[in-house]
């Protein structure tokens, strides 16, 4: 049974960052800008957050420090995303090119800055993980559910779920959400009724920057004790999750759980007796999440419908 709990906990570690980043991607695409730089945003966010933890771990620890680091990651993520917004919205540049450039920039900058700032000159940033909550009071005592979700967990899991709820509400139940969606479907029509398309698109991109930066940090924290300018391609996977989830928050949640559980299985198969004894090497377990996603995409993409104006620069003069 403990193996089952272990896999559920692992699933959460992989699911939540995917969910958060994919929701970020959803906001920017719903506003009409493709953010292929989510991977770079995660790297920059994780870099800033981990560096903050590394520099302050003599004076701080625990959940307070984690929350502050998350704020840092969010802020840096937003600043980073402004470069994409400027190129895509003001300069009307190709959004794929701009995003690719930022994806190239992020790991190079993270390595460069880590080696410049750290006195030992290495590119890995070590951090003390003091954030694991061994048991949530009261909730952790619930049989079964408590063992699955409220023991040896991180506060990031609950923040991720909270972000999901807020995102759903904002996208469907607020004036902002309606306006944002209109800019991704038909920006000319939105402009004609007095919506500032540039401002809405900026907001969409900045939300993706915030969630991308946050997602990078909460991906690194439970799965490692050092940051090496890499998030294992999670930003790209989040894009796949977003498309698979049809740009809808709840579907994105379901897809990220699916993908997260596959990933958890690949990471912890050696703890499961019958999988460890099977004559299959670790490389194939690592492949499983990607093959599974391809198959799922093949069956679900037939009626895939992206926001209509996504990846198209908005030109006030065109009709």
């Amino acid at each position: 049974m403990s193996i089952f709990y272990l896999i559920v906990q692992q699933t959460m570690f992989f699911t939540i960052p995917l969910l958060v980043v994919a929701l970020g991607g959803m906001f920017t695409e719903r506003g009409g800008v493709t953010n292929i730089a989510l991977d770079g945003t995660m790297i920059i966010g994780a870099f800033a957050g981990i560096l903050f933890i590394n520099q302050t771990q003599d004076t701080m620890s625990g959940t307070t420090q984690l929350l502050l680091a998350m704020l840092v990651a969010v802020g840096i993520g937003i600043i980073f995303s402004l470069f994409l917004a400027f190129s895509a919205i003001n300069m009307k540049a190709d959004q794929i090119i701009g995003g690719t450039a930022l994806n190239l920039f992020a790991p190079a900058f993270a390595i460069f800055a880590a080696r410049t700032i750290q006195t030992n000159g290495v590119q890995q940033i070590q951090f003390n993980n003091t954030f694991r909550i061994s048991k949530v009071p009261v909730l952790g005592d619930i049989p079964f559910i408590g063992d699955m979700f409220f023991k040896s967990c991180y506060i990031t899991t609950y923040i991720g779920i909270l972000i999901l709820l807020v995102a759903t509400f904002v996208l469907y139940k607020t004036k902002f959400g309606l306006r944002l969606r209109s800019c991704g479907e038909h920006p000319q029509a939105a402009d004609s009724v007095g919506i500032n398309v540039y401002r809405m698109r900026y907001s969409g991109v900045m939300i993706s920057g915030a969630l991308g930066g946050l997602g990078g940090l909460i991906f690194v924290i439970p799965t490692s004790t050092s940051f090496n300018a890499d998030v294992a391609g999670y930003g790209f996977l989040a894009l796949a999750v977003m498309i698979c989830g049809q740009w809808k928050p709840m579907r994105i949640f379901i897809v990220s759980i699916f993908f997260g559980s596959m990933k958890a299985l690949a990471a912890s198969y050696s703890a499961v007796p019958f999988l460890a004894n099977a004559p299959i090497t670790s490389d194939f377990y690592k492949m499983v999440p990607f093959i599974a996603t391809l198959i799922v995409m093949a069956f679900t993409s037939k009626n895939s419908r992206a926001p209509k104006a996504v990846a198209q620069p908005y030109d006030k003069g065109s009709r």
């Binding site: 090119i97 190239l104 790991p107 996977l237 090497t281 492949m287 995409m297």
Partner: protein
């Protein structure tokens, strides 16, 4: 004067100026980064970046060409897909699958006579790379799976599969890399080892470059011919411009999507073959969980070369040139990542090329208008002066 006027009127000039101004901005940004990191060596560092591949003498230039070889192929791979309206971000997977196939043939298929061995190995690389492009093409054409997502998934599947194959079949467990290919599978030097060499007294330091670079040039010209001069190329580009219009005109758009991705995959796979069939001193496949950088750099190469096969030759050599200077930068205590930052900045500003292309003709027009106005203005003055 007239020559300058005519040259600056051409559209191609504005396109090239877009890339050139992006490169200049990138280099300036790089200089600023050097200044921030360590101001005392900044100027020397900048000279190192600009001198790039020439720093190492004849061998250095040869190394630039050796590392440009795969970049030309992955750049062509991304470029062909761009022209067909698709973004092939799957070059890393296609590249590495081609590489491992070539190395497998190079190590194990030993019954082939020498002149055929490396050719068959290259063919294997192209075929397996082609399969790695064919699958996302099929998924796109028949299942409407976005090619960006499909190729990203194929990248990771290819990376893990490559690690598995290397470990099972061609493993040098001491160094955690692939075995040397048989000497008959090494691409012939084609006399290039006589040119690209640095002499240290009696010892001659020979570059790893081989006939692969010539093959890469040939393929770039071949792709240019296909895309510009054949019906196939016309149809591929038509699908890229407007899928619905080309369907209406009787072009089988599904077939063309699959074909374009297969060609793209084969090109990237061939790049893998060309890089790794290079003898003991050349590159070997390392067993690591990292996607091949040569594949991602193909995106930069294609963007900077404006997806034009001839432009891609130049941009691949340029990127390789910068990357080589990164290794020389380490002697000045700078991180080689400065070069990656410069490349990223160049790509970022090359996306603005559209704006630059719109601004440049206007500036030029203004410049020549003012010039043509100047004599008339002075004439007016003269005539005014005459009256008074």
């Amino acid at each position: 004067m007239n020559l300058i006027k005519n040259v600056t009127a051409k559209e191609g000039y504005h396109k090239i100026m877009g890339s050139v101004s992006a490169i200049i901005i990138g280099l300036i940004f790089g200089f600023l980064v050097l200044l921030l990191a360590n101001s005392s060596n900044a100027f020397e560092g900048f000279i190192t970046i600009v001198a790039g591949g020439f720093t190492g003498g004849g061998r250095g230039v040869g190394q630039v060409l050796y590392f440009a070889t795969p970049l030309i192929l992955t750049g062509l791979s991304v470029g062909v897909a761009f022209k067909t309206g698709m973004f092939n971000i799957g070059a890393p997977g296609q590249f590495v699958m081609g590489a491992v196939s070539a190395v497998y043939v190079g190590v194990h298929v030993t019954f082939l006579p020498a002149p055929f061995h490396w050719i068959i190995a290259l063919l294997a690389a192209a075929i397996v790379g082609g399969i790695w492009g064919f699958i996302p093409g099929m998924l796109k054409a028949f299942f409407n799976v976005h090619e960006v997502i499909a190729t990203i998934m194929m990248n990771y599947i290819g990376m893990y599969l490559c690690n598995f194959i290397v470990k099972k079949t061609v493993y040098n467990s001491l160094k955690n890399i692939s075995l040397d290919v048989k000497s008959s599978a090494v691409i012939p030097k084609a006399g290039l080892d006589k040119i690209f060499v640095t002499l240290h007294g009696n010892y001659s330091d020979v570059s790893t470059v081989n006939g692969g670079i010539l093959i890469a040039f040939g393929i770039a010209v071949f792709i240019y011919f296909i895309m510009e001069k054949t019906t196939l190329g016309y149809e591929l580009k038509a699908v890229g411009f407007n899928k619905n219009a080309s369907k209406y005109a009787g072009i089988n758009e599904k077939r063309n999507i699959i074909l374009a991705m297969t060609i793209a995959g084969a090109l990237a796979g061939l790049g893998g073959g060309l890089l790794f069939l290079s003898g003991p001193s050349g590159r070997h496949l390392a067993v690591v969980d990292v996607l091949a950088m040569e594949g991602f750099n193909g995106i930069s190469v294609a963007l900077l070369g404006l997806s034009n096969p001839i432009g891609i030759i130049f941009s691949a050599i340029f990127i390789s040139y910068l990357a080589q200077s990164g290794t020389y930068l380490q002697t000045l205590n700078y991180m080689p990542e400065v070069v990656d930052i410069i490349i990223a900045v160049i790509i970022y500003f090359s996306a603005f090329a559209l704006v630059i292309r719109q601004v440049l003709p206007k500036l030029r027009k203004k410049f020549y208008e003012r010039k043509s106005q100047l004599p008339t203005a002075s004439e007016e003055k003269e005539s005014n002066g005459g009256e008074k």
